[in-house]
């Protein structure tokens, strides 16, 4: 099924798929590129419909143990936490954009929603993080008006062999207006 086929026509006429894609990607780009620390780590997000995959391209500054070499445990924790926060924020933003309550252009102009705040975050280190690209996906297990619970998994070469996973609780931003 092609992208946009779920979208109800706005103003009676279906929008061209490129317009829909461009709007969604612009909103995601604004959300991700507005956070300096995400830029510092070099994390990007790949979007397929509403599903996001975080990508951490390998860089020497991400190394924790130069002898192995291995990714720093703090990098892994930060990558998982960024994936959880953006995943959670995107899930609520998606509804707002698709329903037309938020205009993607206002996001691109810099009017970004406040991000959820981490309450606690617990990381399981399953395997050594290798000196190569890493990927992660977040699953929002519960998202209420005030609190949310999110699970994240990160892998490298093999999707079935996660090298780290985490669960965290988050405080949702208060809705304005």
């Amino acid at each position: 099924m092609s992208e946009g086929s779920f979208v109800k026509p706005r103003g009676g006429r279906p929008e061209p798929v490129q317009v829909i894609k461009q709007r969604r990607d612009a909103a995601l780009g604004a959300l991700v590129h507005g956070v300096p620390y995400i830029q510092f780590l070099g994390i990007e997000f790949d979007r397929r419909g509403d599903e996001l995959t975080a990508i951490l391209p390998f860089d020497d500054k991400l190394i924790g143990n130069p002898l192995l070499p291995a990714l720093h445990g703090g990098v892994t924790a930060a990558f998982l936490e960024v994936t959880a926060i953006i995943g959670l924020s995107w899930a609520s933003l998606w509804e707002e954009i698709e329903s037309g309550r938020i205009d993607a252009q206002t996001l691109v102009a810099g009017n970004l929603p406040r991000l959820p705040k981490t309450i606690d975050f617990t990381v399981d280190y399953l395997r050594t993080g290798l000196p190569r690209d890493a990927y992660a996906r977040a699953k929002v297990n519960r998202s209420g008006r005030r609190y949310a619970s999110v699970h994240v998994e990160a892998w490298q070469d093999n999707r079935a062999r996660a090298f780290a996973q985490a669960t965290g609780h988050f405080l949702m931003p208060r809705l304005e207006g």
Binding site: D60, G74, D120
Partner: protein, 138 residues
């Protein structure tokens, strides 16, 4: 080589610790204190300038690891098994983050650590962490 020097070299040889400008302020037996200056590149909330939790996590993880390495029962390097971080409040923008980790128990295989992160207001912690780390077979 004495344990302090080993732990200092170990941490200073970590590229990511250097990338975040982490410094070791104190090392004792199973105790480490480290800090990270405020840096606009580590901001997580652009509207307030508050440092991202991930950067605080990286400092806490490094400090916990250092406390394991300088524990008398440690024989060398270590790796994180599990780490839980509780965020009590946002760190004040413009202030350095300071962490203190204590490796309070070591078995043949596992080291248990707790740590606290603070800014200039030392009465109200920014975050606390508890972690488990590997102990290298001697």
């Amino acid at each position: 080589m004495d344990r302090d020097k080993l732990a200092r070299q170990f941490t200073e040889a970590i590229p990511h610790a250097r990338a975040l400008s982490m410094t070791i302020d104190h090392l004792g037996e199973g105790v480490a204190e480290m800090s990270m200056p405020y840096d606009a590149r580590f901001i997580g909330a652009p509207e307030t300038g508050v440092i991202h939790g991930g950067a605080v996590s990286a400092l806490l993880d490094t400090c916990c690891g250092a406390s394991v390495v300088c524990h008398p029962a440690s024989k060398g390097g270590t790796a994180t098994i599990g780490l839980r971080i509780d965020y009590m409040r946002a760190a004040t923008p413009g202030q350095a983050i300071r962490t203190r980790a204590e490796c309070y128990h070591v078995t043949r295989s596992v080291a248990f650590v707790r740590a606290t992160a603070m800014d200039d207001d030392t009465d109200r912690p920014v975050a606390t962490a508890t972690g488990t780390f590997t102990v290298e077979a001697g």
